[in-house]
Symmetry: C2
Subunit: 338 residues, 2 copies
């Protein structure tokens, strides 16, 4: 048994390059496990935009920085092979944060580990009921707090998080406009997800389109991208509008940190609120969120796209799809079969 | 009787210059008043930082732009000379928004007009119980929502709005740090206002001082200035901290609009909320605010500094004191005696 690994060879400057990763094969860890350790085999990785931030140098204690020479860190589904812990038995599947490698010993004290119910597939655990969906759920409901007839705009609306956020706003009786890159994505949003409108930011003037589509202003802007699109939304916010800060993917590849609003007086004169959040703030409510999402998926009220790819060797290449938008829904990589 | 006027001769580019104003003398308006019109004599003007924004070109419908060639617009106390309205009688003093001129006809439908109680001096109506104080009151209590033991930082803390906001946070049991320009101002904050600390931004590294003074992070940052000091506060916010956006005076004289946070991910990873507000959102609560402020002033729990100057001819020069910080408290200009 060998343990394949993708290590962080160098920190990306701007866009991620091949040279930022190095492939290595080593032995599977083989030592006595402590009471809070489990040996796992990783099955499935989530490609999350924020992992790009984890590849940046340390310095901000609010999020982790992958050490140079260590496996790339990612949300993962894994199966327990051997357990030192009374809580986990061999064969249990867990949702956790793992390295881009086949096998590893996890300390359940140091990384979040949650058991997956037997009836839930690994793909669903990481997709439909995974981090992105929960982020869209809590960001829209807890931070955005949509009310009937609110005008809601979601950027990155065809992505895993954005599409859940947008469709939940629609369930709550809002008028919902999605912003996405490409005609096909926009068509999916209006025809399949039944949003009230969609803007293809690749060939449209987003600020002008928002002005036309939201003449009375935007009540809730759910932001996954930041940059110019955030600014276009700010210019069109209604008085007392709320901006949900979920992500800033448009600038994760920039050398400079993502910059904020270019006209702060607009926030003051408009009595606008901008609020950042993390999904882990709402851990206690995960079970009820999963229950509600399950109902909405079954009723067809929320559509969800999973873009499942294969092959450990392809991880670096697949991950980059997030940044050119060529993924079609939540991007998962199956590296070992369940 | 002549009517002295200061007109907007040209729009400031950067700092306000003498040439942006022109002095004129004309006749006092003399025509029949309509039912909602009053002829007033202006007594006292408030020098408000936001008037600098009103001198900018039109384009943002959220705030007014003074037309070129018109009198500079300012919050004012005036006395009614002649009234077409059943609500106002000659001799009534009103708080309103007027032009830099002695006399004018106001339409009570178009500008906010509020009668001043007989027992309140004009200076107190515009100062202790005026716009700045109410802004500090509502910004801290309604937007900031301070809880006991919160760590609160206020910029522009020796100014009229900031000092009220800071002292109210202290009344609510918070640990309060003020940021101000100059040792004398800082001394007033810690010795007279009994704040827990003060930082002189003119000769200190604000980010480092905040890190030292607030090792567990800032729960509420009340921002009057924006720019680098806002950024220094953002770097030191506690998780789930709240930023009250009151003003951005550090950049009102810039050609570019005030820019916001330089690292949006800090807001996301820190679950930070930034909220802009306008005092007029809370009009219904003005009477209770004035009641509470009165009690606190009488009990000596809130100190308030009024910098009252004189002379219509000095208006442009006096107004500029706001931007070099040479005013000592709320800046009022008495142009005619009560």
């Amino acid at each position: 048994m060998i343990n394949r690994q993708w290590l962080l060879a160098s920190r990306p400057k701007g866009s991620i390059e091949d040279t930022n990763f190095s492939y290595k094969e080593c032995e599977v860890p083989n030592r006595e496990l402590k009471p809070n350790e489990i040996l796992v085999k990783n099955l499935l990785f989530l490609c999350a935009p924020t992992m790009r931030n984890w590849m940046s140098p340390p310095g901000n204690s609010l999020y982790p920085s992958i050490p140079l020479g260590s496996p790339i860190m990612a949300p993962a589904i894994a199966v327990v092979i051997e357990s030192g812990s009374a809580e986990y038995a061999p064969g249990d599947r867990v949702s956790t944060r793992a390295g881009w490698q086949d096998y590893e010993i996890l300390s359940t004290d140091l990384v979040p580990v949650g058991k997956i119910p037997d009836e839930m597939t690994s793909v669903d655990a990481m997709g439909k009921f995974g981090l992105n969906s929960l982020t869209g759920y809590f960001g829209m409901l807890e931070v955005g707090q949509p009310k009937e007839n609110d005008v809601v705009v979601v950027s990155g609306a065809a992505g895993a998080t954005g599409s859940v956020a947008a469709q939940i706003a629609r369930i709550k009786g809002c008028r919902v406009i999605g912003i996405a890159g490409g005609e096909q994505k926009c068509q999916w949003l209006t025809e399949d997800c039944q949003l009230d409108g969609a803007i293809n930011y690749k060939n449209r003037n987003v600020e002008k389109e928002l002005r036309d589509l939201c003449p009375d202003g935007i009540n809730i802007y759910y932001d996954n991208v930041g940059g110019d699109i955030l600014q276009a939304a700010i210019e069109n916010m209604a008085v007392k509008g709320r901006i949900v800060l979920c992500g800033q993917i448009s600038s994760y590849n920039d050398e400079k940190p993502a910059e904020g609003p270019r006209n702060m007086m607009r926030l003051i004169y408009g009595s606008i609120t901008m609020q950042g959040f993390l999904t882990r703030n709402y851990t206690d409510n995960f079970p009820s969120a999963i229950g509600n999402l399950k109902t909405w998926y079954e009723q067809g009220k929320v559509l969800f796209k999973q873009d499942v790819r294969e092959g450990f060797e392809n991880l670096p290449l697949i991950y980059r799809a997030l940044f050119d938008g060529s993924n079609d829904g939540v991007l998962l990589v199956q590296i070992n079969s369940d």
